[in-house]
């Protein structure tokens, strides 16, 4: 076991720290969605030009080509520098990119990965449907092969950033006689194709971050299929595994930073809010340690079991606990959109974290059945 920087780690950390100090945008992210998209893409481009986009992505596709250790250092310094939230780049950087690295062919990688890293392409994820939420394998949006195209008809829902996206990771049923996770195909859908219609949905937090997406005989080139026809489930699972694990490291560190900020504001107060935040301070370190352990085991090539689901569950419950301690303890400031509106917005937005990427109950089933070997329900 080892925590201190070794070899070139310290040198890399110092370089990263200096670069972030000089380049992190000082203006806040605009609240308007289109302006927010531009802000996110400009910041992504700046990271690319600085040589820090995709620290652990392969160099031949525009990444830096370093290891998980450097990626970890980058995330730590990123949060320490108070750099912006990843914004609408989330799906491209955390899901689509890693999936393409794992499963796409050379042409697909050469086209898409540099565009993601350069801030030229926003992605969304077309998995959930009205009848396929936690039970993703029951999805019904169909794709029919017609010559050199897959013709897609159906509906997706809860698609985050669909209104801003250029491309989508789309999971469709290409074998009409198949059941469950067989006969599915993972395909790259260009969101500007004729027949794609996006209708934003207002969330309880007053944002339109997710949408319904309708497909009316959308013709997508077969060359966009990733991993081969009928192999969509395994391609999709590669993505979800990442989403539940390493992809959330930045969110975890941001949560830790939020706890520190709120605790600092309490000063010398000795009340229930302070006590709750003090406990959360300890738990945030445990969360970080769980992630370090998972990344370390991954670097050793060990089977990670359900570690990613455990971390996801721990993070999402800690996030909500902290938000609720703060907002419930803020009295009137917790219910008015006043000077401290950020705590209210954060609390309302936080309901999604135990729902998205597999609800907390689905995570518990995964941990119980796949991790602990308990019998299926």
């Amino acid at each position: 076991m080892q925590l201190s920087d070794v070899g070139t780690d310290a040198e890399f950390r110092a370089k990263v720290r200096d670069w972030l100090a000089d380049n992190v945008p000082s203006e806040p992210r605009p609240t308007d969605r289109k302006a927010g998209r531009q802000f996110d893409l400009d910041w992504q481009r700046a990271q690319y030009d600085g040589g820090y986009a995709g620290v652990s992505w392969p160099a031949e596709y525009g990444g830096v080509g370093m290891g998980l250790g450097e990626q970890l250092i980058w995330f730590e310094e990123y949060v320490r520098a108070n750099a912006p939230d990843i914004g609408c780049g989330f799906v491209g950087i955390n899901h689509a990119g890693p999936t393409l690295i794992a499963r796409a062919d050379d042409a697909q990688k050469a086209f898409h990965l540099p565009r993601i890293l350069r801030g030229e392409s926003v992605w969304c994820q077309g998995f959930s449907e009205p009848g396929a939420g936690s039970d993703l394998a029951s999805l019904r949006t169909r794709g029919v092969v017609d010559g050199e195209h897959l013709v897609v008809t159906g509906q997706k829902i809860w698609t985050s950033e669909a209104d801003l996206a250029d491309h989508q990771e789309l999971l469709v049923r290409t074998d009409p006689d198949s059941r469950r996770h067989h006969g599915l195909t993972w395909i790259i859908c260009d969101m500007t194709l004729p027949g794609v219609q996006v209708r934003p949905i207002m969330t309880m937090a007053g944002t339109t971050e997710f949408s319904e997406v309708f497909y009316d005989e959308v013709r997508i080139p077969l060359a966009n299929v990733v991993g081969g026809l009928g192999n969509g489930w395994s391609v999709a699972m590669a993505t979800l595994g990442f989403e539940r694990g390493t992809g959330f490291l930045r969110e975890q560190l941001e949560l830790a930073r939020y706890v520190e900020q709120r605790l600092a504001e309490r000063g010398r107060r000795d009340d229930a809010v302070t006590f709750g935040l003090v406990q959360a301070r300890a738990e945030a370190r445990a969360m970080y340690a769980m992630t370090l352990r998972m990344v370390s085991r991954s670097a050793h090539g060990q089977d990670l079991g359900t570690a990613a689901s455990m971390i996801r569950l721990y993070y999402s419950e800690l996030r909500q606990k902290v938000d609720r301690i703060v907002v419930d303890g803020a009295d009137a400031d917790g219910i008015v959109y006043g000077a401290d509106a950020a705590i209210l917005e954060r609390h309302l937005d936080g309901y999604k974290v135990t729902i998205g990427a597999g609800t907390k109950d689905v995570q518990r089933n995964i941990i119980g059945e796949r991790g602990l070997g308990l019998p299926k329900s």
Binding site: Q2, V278, Q279, A286, Y314, R364
Partner: protein, 326 residues
């Protein structure tokens, strides 16, 4: 790069300790024999420097041992002797070293309250030397002969009595600051390791019972109410062990956040041991409520561990007042 996974030598020590403890009688009645055997194997000198007759490992290796001690509910002053041996090297009382390492001299970990009285847990055998944490957080070695027992109270765990004693610390020199911080950190981290062992063991007991026990014609582990409780136990156990490992590495490498991480490990792991051991009773139903069943012993040991460093209020203040660990 950063590495928080156990190395091969750590895993070997953990497995060896687990095998030994599984082959031994770990009930309180057989504690004297177990104590002698573990001392003979060098458990108490694991982290002492080689020039002092130790094995030269650090806290990272000790957590592997103490996790198994927690899991096995072993009784004996393993932690007290290990920490006291470290303290005597730093305080010039090296005449005590041999007894502490061979186990012929038994130590206890005591805390002085604001009233000046010492409180410490003791098993069936009397202690000869106390490692005392004073009310202002200093560490002193005090001969038991210089204290006067005022009370010995039975605790929830039949293996331990709580001794309340009067003592005068004025003539006992305090440990130098770096050694004090290291020993206080190790005290919390190795207690956390025992608690993590309990959190893991009770998780495993519940999972096994969920597989073995059939009601309504089904294994009860197939019911989500039971399955999800087991999943939460698994997450708590993982958090407890990860926090313990993080703090152990921090102590061994002398990192500035190690003091905070030791407190965090104690808080997270002792909480995990309490909740998991209690949920384990629920998962077992009526059999878990019996004296005969092992489940209740974990609850009681978890309570003693959670009470073995400071008070709820002092631990909370410690976590609050520490500088940011990030």
């Amino acid at each position: 790069m950063i590495d928080l996974a156990e190395g091969d030598d750590q895993l070997t020590v953990g497995k060896t300790a687990a095998r030994l403890l599984s082959e031994q009688d770990t009930t309180p009645g057989a504690a004297a024999a177990l104590w002698r055997q573990c001392a003979d194997l060098g458990w108490l000198a694991l982290a002492l420097p080689e020039e002092a007759g130790g094995v030269g490992y650090g806290v990272c290796m000790q957590i592997m041992l103490f996790r198994e001690i927690g899991r096995a509910l072993a009784v004996g002053p393993f932690l007290a002797n290990s920490l006291a041996a470290h303290a005597v090297l730093e305080s010039g009382r090296t005449d005590l070293l041999d007894g502490l390492v061979t186990g012929s001299l038994r130590a206890a970990l005591a805390e002085a309250g604001p009233d000046g009285r010492l409180r410490y847990f003791r098993d069936a055998e009397p202690a000869g030397i106390l490692l005392v944490r004073s009310a202002d957080g200093e560490l002193h070695l005090v001969d038991v002969a210089l204290t006067a027992d005022e009370q010995g109270l039975p605790t929830v765990d039949p293996a331990f009595h709580l001794i309340i004693a009067a003592a005068d610390l004025t003539d006992a020199p305090a440990l130098p600051t770096p050694a004090r911080d290291h020993v206080l950190g190790a005290w919390q981290v190795l207690t956390a390791a025992q608690a993590a062992g309990i959190a893991e063991c009770t998780r495993d007991m519940s999972v096994q019972y969920g597989i073995d026990r059939v009601q309504y014609g089904r294994q009860i582990g197939s019911f989500q109410a039971v399955k999800h409780r087991c999943a939460d136990m698994a997450v708590r156990a993982e958090a407890a062990w990860a926090a313990t490992a993080l703090a152990a590495v921090g102590l061994d490498e002398g990192l500035p956040q190690a003091g905070f991480d030791a407190m965090a490990a104690f808080a997270v792991a002792s909480g995990a041991a309490l909740v998991n051991s209690r949920d384990n009773i629920q998962n077992h139903g009526a059999i878990g409520f019996t004296e005969e069943h092992r489940a209740q012993r974990y609850v009681k040991r978890a309570q003693v561990l959670a009470a073995s460093f400071g008070t709820t209020a002092s631990r909370r203040d410690g976590l609050k007042d520490a500088p940011s660990p990030w």
